[in-house]
């Protein structure tokens, strides 16, 4: 599947933190006939510079951005505009999705072309809650969301049961994508569906879901989806403070997921995943049941995507079925690939780079941006086989060689 010879945790860590491989721990005491072998110890979660970078990011998200956006006045050069906050917030959601994709694709070698579905499901769960929060302020002054009134529905359909409660609905944000992924994954992995066959059925799944959600009868507002949100936990949504809160939450979730993912892939669990990617049958003959491993990471990944979607919806203000279109799922994979697969920082970088570029190009070259974006994909694959992170890593390694 992958051609990254980059799975050693040490080297991965080193490059991510931009430092040297930590010197192996002191050799263990002599062992009878075994003699001395320098066994690599368990790698730390992050190296010291890694932690430093992490805290800088944390600070930027939690303190710097709010101050620059809310406190620094509009005219100032340092002011962070609402628009920039919106763009960054959206991209951070994408980054979470890309991170989730990397766990399943980069590390386990399972390319999902259906992650857009989990993202959208999380978004829809959040959207349902937000729709209910509109309350009587809608066009029709009804307890029911506008589109239901308009379709002559007299009461909430069953799947809206929990939509009134923030807590329950937030549980659904994680549980629904998780459950769907679990059931789907259980059957797929049990049947040993692999490679493109898996990719294609995930694509079929999201495509089918998209068509389903486009239907008005499905009860999710059809093509128009959910828009015009007014409040979240009874606080107006369209205030700078609320927007900043959402932004900071997204940032924290992203950083939290990043640490979680680090911990996962650094553990033996993570190495079993990579082993599954390389030689699944050998994993089985070593006594591991790949089904459970794949199912676990697949479900976790779907749940992360769900959370990303839930954070995304109140920030962009709309969720509609196009989020489930196959192209969107492919795009998630592309973020991971451009940034660098099987490196956790890669997908985050990729998401920022690709969607950032898209945002920027569509404004600056509205007619030509597809050329740039297309060329970018081609060039990255041709010249940066390990993504942007791979390039950085190579440059760093070269620098080190020269220094040495």
């Amino acid at each position: 599947m992958s051609s990254t010879p980059m799975s050693s945790i040490e080297s991965a860590l080193a490059a991510e933190a931009g430092t040297q491989v930590p010197a192996p721990p002191p050799p263990p005491p002599p062992l009878g006939q075994a003699g001395r072998v320098a066994l690599p110890g368990r790698a730390p979660l992050l190296t010291r510079p890694g932690w430093a970078a992490f805290f800088v990011a944390l600070l930027a998200v939690c303190a710097l951005a709010p101050v620059l956006n809310l406190v620094v006045p509009d005219g100032s050069a340092l002011h962070l505009s609402d628009y920039t906050v919106a763009v960054l917030g959206r991209i951070m959601c994408y980054a979470i999705a890309a991170l989730a994709m990397d766990l399943i694709w980069g590390y386990t070698g399972i390319l999902s072309l259906g992650h857009g579905l989990f993202f959208a499901l999380g978004g829809y769960m959040m959207g349902m809650y937000l729709m209910r929060q509109i309350g009587l302020e809608g066009n029709y002054k009804s307890e029911l969301p506008d589109f239901m009134v308009f379709l002559d529905w007299k009461e909430l359909p069953w799947h809206w049961t929990f939509s009134g409660s923030f807590v329950l609905q937030m549980i659904l944000v994680v549980a629904l994508p998780g459950l769907l992924a679990f059931v789907f994954g259980y059957f797929a992995f049990r049947s040993r569906i692999k490679g493109v066959y898996f990719s294609i059925i995930t694509q079929a799944l999201t495509f089918a879901a998209m068509l389903l959600f486009f239907r008005n009868e499905t009860g999710f507002g059809g093509n128009n989806g959910f828009t015009d949100f007014k409040r979240i936990v009874d606080i107006p949504i369209a205030t700078p403070q609320m927007r900043m809160t959402l932004f900071v939450t997204t940032g924290l979730v992203l950083l939290g997921f990043f640490l979680f993912a680090r911990w996962l892939v650094g553990s033996k669990f993570g190495r079993v995943l990579q082993a599954i990617r390389d030689a699944e049958s050998r994993v089985m003959f070593s006594g591991y049941n790949p089904l459970r491993y794949k199912l676990t990471i697949w479900t976790l990944s779907a749940m992360m995507c769900g959370v990303a979607g839930a954070l995304y919806v109140p920030q962009v203000g709309i969720i509609n079925p196009t989020e489930m279109s196959p192209a969107n799922s492919i795009e998630i994979a592309i973020w991971a690939a451009v940034g660098g697969r099987a490196t956790l920082i890669g997908p985050i970088v990729g998401a920022f780079l690709v969607s950032g570029a898209k945002s920027w190009f569509t404004t600056v070259f509205p007619e030509y941006w597809l050329y740039f974006l297309g060329a970018m994909f081609i060039l990255v694959t041709l010249y940066l086989p390990h993504g942007v992170v791979g390039l950085v890593r190579k440059l760093l390694a070269r620098g080190k060689e020269e220094r040495a």
């Binding site: 068509l211 128009n224 989806g225 015009d228 196009t322 945002s359």
Partner: protein
């Protein structure tokens, strides 16, 4: 500051680019024309063109950018309802202005939006009435065919309610939907053919975008001619016909507020202006065969009305412009003088029914005597009788 920035927010790539590109160009032409004639209040207009890439969250973000970063005075844009719905909160929140140029399902009225396209009563109902009448062939049975999304569903709901009020039984209405991008209409056309054996049948088509061509090609294949089973479409205009050989379609109908074939001096001048512009700018497709259509007219009218309102208000401030918009009139290429309703932000528009000609243009076979007032809240939908015909005060 000697320029006024205006936003042009359309999809120039992705699925909607097919329709929206022409609107962008029309907006640019109109702006250029206004500038050439001295601008607005002596200031030149500076268009800010942005591609929504047919991606609706992106559209909302771009709207933020137009309003927040570029500080445009007004935005002309969107085609799909979902695009409008996604940017609407942004406009309301910032109290900015959006001019929306496409026919839509109604059921919405925002203080910050001016709807220059048709509401259902300015397009769907007259067309159905026409087909019911002797002129239209006295249709007794109805096929309501659409792409599965909100506009067709709503339009069909209204049409169904209207048909019922005219005494058409449910058994005489067949309602079918196809997924987005559907390209194989064999089964549906066969079904229509079968259905049409039960009595004089007409088809009301709200098929969207690209699916029209396969649909009409299949109709032609199946030998269902307009004489037997006329199809009236609400989304097929001159641009859509560009993509297919119209000969087999001759006689099928469309209902709009404007047709390129309308004969009057305003229209002739406008078409010429557009043709010259397309040639000068080498617009792909348009430069060899310039076409105008209803949404383009609505774009053109919208920009001019905004200009007039600004000049009346002597300011680009949204509230002042909104106030000044009420009752604005404009001599439109359709040959009618269009009036902005005093309250409901919709234009009073004429309804024209045209039959497709073998050259891809329309023969206007029926038209309203005078512009019709829009009913954004359709009376055929329950509860709408209580709705006010003006935006909520917030």
């Amino acid at each position: 500051q000697d320029t006024i920035k205006v936003g042009v927010l359309h999809a120039l790539s992705g699925t909607m680019a097919i329709s929206e590109t022409a609107l962008k160009d029309m907006a640019l032409m109109t702006i250029e024309d206004i500038n050439a004639k001295g601008g607005v209040m002596g200031k030149k207009l500076e268009p800010v063109v942005i591609d929504t890439a047919s991606n609706w969250p992106l559209a909302a973000e771009k709207a933020k950018q137009l309003i927040g970063q570029d500080k445009v005075a007004v935005t002309f844009g969107c085609w799909t309802s979902v695009c409008r719905k996604s940017v609407l909160p942004v406009y309301e929140e910032n109290n900015a202005l959006l001019y929306y140029p496409v026919q839509y399902e109604g059921e919405e009225l925002s203080k910050n939006v001016f709807y220059t396209g048709a509401a259902p009563n300015q397009q769907a109902i007259p067309a159905v009435e026409y087909l019911m009448g002797k002129e239209g062939g006295s249709a007794k049975r109805w096929v309501l065919l659409g792409t599965d999304y909100v506009y067709p569903r709503t339009a069909n709901k209204i049409v169904r309610a209207f048909l019922k009020s005219k005494g058409v039984a449910d058994a005489d209405i067949m309602e079918t939907y196809t997924p987005f991008g559907h390209s194989d209409y064999q089964t549906i056309v066969a079904d229509i053919k079968k259905f049409s054996q039960g009595g004089k049948t007409a088809v009301v088509s709200t098929i969207n975008g690209d699916s029209n061509i396969p649909f009409y090609k299949e109709l032609g294949n199946a030998g269902l001619s307009a004489k037997n089973v006329p199809v009236v479409a609400f989304s097929v205009g001159e641009e859509e016909l560009r993509g297919l050989d119209p000969k087999p379609l001759a006689g099928h109908l469309a209902s709009w507020n404007y047709f390129m074939s309308v004969k009057n001096p305003t229209n002739t001048a406008w078409i010429k202006q557009w043709g010259d512009y397309a040639k000068a700018k080498k617009l792909p497709g348009q430069s060899t065969k310039p076409l105008t259509n209803d949404p383009m007219e609505a774009t053109y009218v919208g920009i001019h009305m905004w200009k007039q309102a600004v000049e009346k208000a002597k300011s680009t401030d949204a509230d002042k412009v909104i106030a000044a918009m009420a009752g604005q009139t404009f001599n439109a290429p359709s040959g009618f003088t269009l009036t902005m309703d005093a309250k409901n932000h919709h234009l009073h528009k004429p309804v024209l029914i045209g039959e497709i000609r073998p050259d891809g243009q329309f023969n206007v076979v029926w038209r309203t005597k005078a512009p019709v007032k829009a009913q954004p809240w359709s009376p055929f939908i329950e509860g709408n009788d209580k709705k006010k015909d003006e935006p909520e005060k917030k």
